[in-house]
């Protein structure tokens, strides 16, 4: 299929290189021999830290993930089991590196499972392989544990399985790939897992109490079981005891207050309102916060998302419909698929259904506002008009609801569309600022109300009106339409201007410009130049042709030959005294020169850049006028035959 070439862009391909990977055969537990992975563990760790994880702090997320999985697995066996995660920081008296003991009372690991996770580590030398392994509990466990080597050189894992023979096993692994497995001499009383991490000297900062507190809250704040941090004798809870938006509140007001407080904590922003979010698809719930100011760019908002109550990303972008950039949200999803980097969701049909449902919730908020508190909606339109316009474009019912309240700039001041339609039967608009500038002043003077629809979505919204609102009339308006509203000449006036009309037509024919003479206001405006969009494009092409080399100049000739559209038009204003005098001039040379100058002036006033030919006109014309002026200025020059030079063009 014929297509187009494209640009270089955000190219993404998997990191290259692979590591020789294979774990040694499993040796019997209890013999306490040292083993060695036949794998460059450094390489795997390097891969993790440079390609998979954004920061070493992720180690705590991975540990929390492992604990969560283990507790869920135990709950599967014992539905009553509540689960608890404990972090204990042991700081050395002698100033040596601290140790973090991370414990859960989850399902624990059996001997065979330890075997499997070691195998996982051995084979996890490629990003894709890592991702595949994450899909099962043991695979995730191994990869998660591996991430700890970003912050320490040695790990001790002590575990007792709820499914096993009651023995407690120990695995001691080092970053260089050696490890030992044995039955522990300090058996655990209950099933669960403890991980001992001794901070590496250069990573001590990731073990500071404040950092642990912050990371634990950050990643695990929403987890549905307690997370305790113990530092010395101080013990505190890091979790929020469930998602704030699921709690019961005494009143709607209380809820709103608590939500806005939560929003402030999460995003450090004072939001103006909050909206509950829920989707069956993907099993998503959460809360959206309305931004207090319109976003600087129509950049997508970065949302905070949790997957099964673990923080997945603080910069998920693809969760809400495109129009909904007036909110930032916090949500938890139980059944959406994370992407490889685990930092957003995979674009599949579950996500697109969830997005639709969440969008529906936001839309409902706006609709309720329209019915219950139109003033609040108007304020919101003032703040987030772009979002609202974008939704209205996509959604006919919503369009009907809000279109009347949208404010528009017109040639007679700002007005809402409802006010406009009450006053004028036909909605007239210009789609570009340029176009609006060209008509605004003159249209205003004729009492014409023209909307400036150059702002994002405005033109499309107005064009939609007749399709959605029965009987509505909408017409695009341009400078070319203005003369229709101008007063026609009388029979005598027609006769009087006929020579001017003829001359002007001849003069302007090479410029693809027609001529009319009418009467309009303001009287100071002598002429009005108008060209439709294609005319403006033709002018752009002419300038490019003037500037380009032979090859592209000839290509552009072809483009211009194919351009359609109406010819441009110069409308003379007979209310203007200069034009009236010009019409009476008998010196054809003078008249020609004056027409040329009026044409160039009209172009310049309308901000139409001149092409080479017009530039020549301007230069020669100026000289011509000066010389004419000099000729007649010397008290009755030889060519003075009552021409315009005596007073027409001061």
């Amino acid at each position: 299929m014929p297509r187009r070439p494209r640009r270089r862009n955000l190219e993404k391909y998997p990191p290259g290189g692979s590591f020789p990977a294979r774990a040694v055969p499993w040796a019997n537990v209890g013999t306490a021999v040292d083993h060695r992975f036949q794998v460059s563990l450094r390489g795997v760790i390097d891969l993790l830290s440079h390609h998979l994880y954004s920061s070493p702090g992720v180690y705590l997320r991975e540990l929390l993930q492992n604990a969560t999985d283990a507790i869920r697995a135990r709950q599967h066996l014992e539905p009553e089991h509540k689960g608890t995660v404990r972090l204990e920081l042991v700081e050395k008296q002698d100033g040596g590196p601290p140790t973090l003991v991370f414990s859960d009372d989850g399902v624990g690991l059996t001997e065979e499972e330890i075997h499997r996770f070691l195998a996982t580590i051995g084979e996890s030398s490629k990003r894709e392989a890592l991702e595949d392994r994450r899909k099962d509990f043991i695979g995730q466990f191994g990869i998660g544990l591996l991430s700890c080597f970003m912050v320490c050189d040695e790990l001790l894992l002590v575990t007792r399985s709820a499914r096993g023979d009651g023995r407690t096993l120990e695995w001691r692994g080092r970053h260089d790939g050696t490890y030992a497995v044995q039955v522990s001499e300090h058996p655990l009383e209950r099933p669960g897992t403890q991980v001992f991490l001794v901070a590496r000297a250069d990573m001590v900062e990731w073990f500071a109490p404040e950092r642990l507190r912050q990371l634990g809250r950050h990643y695990g704040g929403l987890l549905p079981f307690p997370i305790q941090l113990t530092v010395g004798t101080e013990r505190e809870r890091l979790d929020l005891d469930g998602a704030p938006w699921r709690r019961d509140y005494e009143s709607a007001g209380e809820r709103r207050k608590a939500m806005l407080e939560y929003g402030r904590e999460v995003f450090e922003t004072d939001f103006i309102d909050c909206i509950p979010l829920r989707s069956q698809a993907g099993d998503v719930d959460g809360v959206a916060f309305v931004l207090p100011a319109s976003p600087h760019f129509n950049a997508k908002q970065k949302h905070r998302v949790y997957l099964k109550h673990m923080l997945l990303s603080e910069s998920a972008e693809n969760l809400l419909p495109e129009w909904a950039f007036f909110v930032k949200c916090v949500v938890n999803a139980n059944a959406l698929r994370p992407t490889a980097s685990r930092e957003s969701f995979y674009e599949d049909s579950a996500l697109s259904q969830a997005r639709e449902a969440l969008g529906h919730g936001l839309r409902k908020y706006l609709v309720d506002l329209a019915h219950e508190d139109p003033r609040a909606l108007q304020r919101l339109i003032g703040l987030h008009g772009l979002s609202i316009k974008a939704l209205a474009l996509d959604d006919d019912d919503f369009y009907r609801l809000v279109i009347g309240w949208l404010p528009f700039e017109t040639s007679l001041g700002v007005t809402t569309l409802a006010e406009y339609r009450r006053a004028y039967p036909v909605v007239r608009f210009t789609a570009t600022l340029d176009g609006f500038r060209q008509v605004a002043r003159v249209a205003g003077a004729q009492g014409l109300c023209i909307i400036n629809a150059a702002y994002t979505h405005d033109a499309a919204l107005l064009e939609k009106l007749p399709h959605v609102v029965e009987g509505a009339q909408v017409e695009p308006f341009s400078a070319a339409d203005l003369p229709q509203s101008f007063e026609e000449l009388s029979m005598d006036e027609r006769d009087a201007v006929f020579p001017l009309l003829r001359t002007a037509e001849q003069v302007l024919a090479p410029f693809h410009c027609g001529v009319v003479v009418k009467k309009f206001f303001p009287a100071e405006v002598p002429t009005l130049y108008s060209a439709d969009e294609e005319g403006a494009f033709r002018r752009d092409a002419e300038r490019a042709r003037d500037e380009s080399d032979d090859l592209y100049a000839s290509v552009l000739e072809g483009v211009m030959a194919a351009a359609g559209g109406e010819p441009a038009q110069l409308c003379f204003n007979l209310h203007n005294p200069v034009v009236r005098r010009l019409a009476a001039v008998t010196d054809r040379t003078m008249m020609k020169l004056s027409v040329e100058m009026l044409y160039v002036q009209a172009l310049l006033l309308g901000q139409h850049p001149l092409n080479a030919q017009e530039m020549t006109l301007l230069n020669q014309g100026l000289l011509g006028l000066i010389s004419a002026q000099l000729g007649t200025g010397g008290s009755g020059g030889p060519e003075s035959d009552g021409g315009v030079g005596s007073g027409g063009l001061h």
Binding site: M1, P2, R6, R7, E547, G558
Partner: protein
């Protein structure tokens, strides 16, 4: 007034900078360009056009991209010290790649433009890969001799990448077009795997790919997968007129699977783009699909008139929205035929006539697969 024009131009530029490539972005930049030109500010005019070429290329105005490029190129040739050539060379690929899509540009001019870009690239020590791809695509799309097309295809792939080569995602997607062209459906799908899995992507990939693969999947009977790609692909592309040809892919798929109501809704929404799109090739692809769809509606035989909210710019626009299927079909077909004739006459081949005739074959392949 004269004092603050720079501020005004800057404000337009800033507003454009906040937008994705689109009609309104193009208009804002054009306005700013006209201001710069009015005041003879060549530097500003150049920088603005540099952005305008991007916005127009990726916003569906290849004609405007061409005009802006031609101006910049003129300036660049006049004063190579002042305007660095490399950035413009990237954009020259986009412009030259689409020049064949304007039927009023002659074969000689197209050949000259290809030779010229080859020289320009050689001057900066770029390899031949980019130019070979352009030559291959141009020859293929102009319906040139099959042996020559094959030779260029092989030459393109055999040439190493260099600093001016398109990104891997785009190149891979371009390869898919070849396999779809030659009917190698499985091969197209095999090669598309990294794109479909999200491992290789860019600003326009997988957007384009999801449309390209609809027909191969349909031919292989993988309708469920095709439906999924239709949903994903359409939502990625439906807001940008740069994807007019991709709209054609989706429209064709809907007609092939008997989703006529959905097809009409798509036609209603995107017909506007075909009326003034700079690329006559993309217009053609959409019009052919629209013709095919309306043929299916005619064949269904249960209605003579369909209600559509078509744009006022449509020459046969009706205020009451009632359109006779027969008349609408005739209009689409006539437009498609006119464009085909213009291209085939210019090219001296019959590729577009053949593409139009493909509708008959499609009619025999129809297989109902309701999406609702």
């Amino acid at each position: 007034m004269a004092g603050d024009w720079r501020e005004e131009a800057q404000a337009l530029w800033d507003r454009a900078g906040k937008q994705k490539s689109s009609e309104s972005k193009v208009k804002l930049l054009e306005e700013a360009v006209r201001m710069a030109d009015s005041h003879g500010d060549v530097d500003l005019g150049y920088q603005l056009r540099d952005d305008l070429i991007d916005a127009a290329t990726f916003g569906g105005y290849p004609d405007k991209a061409l005009v802006a490029f031609a101006w910049c190129r003129g300036q660049q040739k006049k004063d190579p010290e002042r305007f660095e050539p490399e950035g413009l060379l990237w954009k020259q690929k986009w412009v030259v790649g689409r020049i064949k899509e304007f039927p009023h540009i002659s074969r000689k001019q197209i050949t000259d433009a290809l030779d010229d870009i080859e020289q320009c690239f050689t001057k900066v020590d770029a390899g031949k890969r980019s130019v070979l791809k352009l030559r291959y695509q141009t020859a293929r799309d102009m319906g040139d001799d099959a042996a020559e097309v094959d030779r260029l295809w092989a030459a393109w792939l055999a040439t190493p990448r260099d600093h001016l080569t398109d990104c891997r995602a785009c190149e891979l997607d371009d390869e898919l077009d070849h396999h779809v062209e030659t009917g190698e459906w499985e091969q197209a799908l095999r090669k598309a795997k990294p794109i479909l899995e999200g491992r290789v992507r860019c600003a326009e990939i997988p957007h384009l790919t999801l449309g390209t693969l609809l027909y191969p999947l349909f031919k292989l009977g993988e309708l469920e997968r095709a439906a999924e790609m239709h949903r994903r692909g359409y939502s990625l592309t439906s807001k940008n007129r740069d994807f007019l040809a991709t709209m054609g892919d989706h429209l064709e798929f809907l007609a092939l699977t008997g989703n006529l109501a959905r097809g009409l809704a798509l036609l209603e929404k995107h017909l506007e783009w075909t009326l003034d799109h700079g690329s006559f090739n993309d217009r053609f692809i959409f019009l052919v699909a629209a013709t095919f769809l309306l043929e299916r509606v005619k064949a269904a035989g249960d209605r003579d008139v369909v209600s559509l909210r078509l744009t006022k710019a449509f020459p046969e626009h009706r205020a009451d929205g009632g359109y006779e299927v027969k008349a609408l079909h005739a209009w689409m077909l006539k437009q498609a035929k006119d464009i085909a004739t213009r291209f085939d006459t210019r090219n001296g081949t019959d590729r577009y006539a053949r593409r139009l005739a493909r509708i008959q074959r499609l009619a025999e392949e129809v297989r109902e697969f309701p999406l609702d």
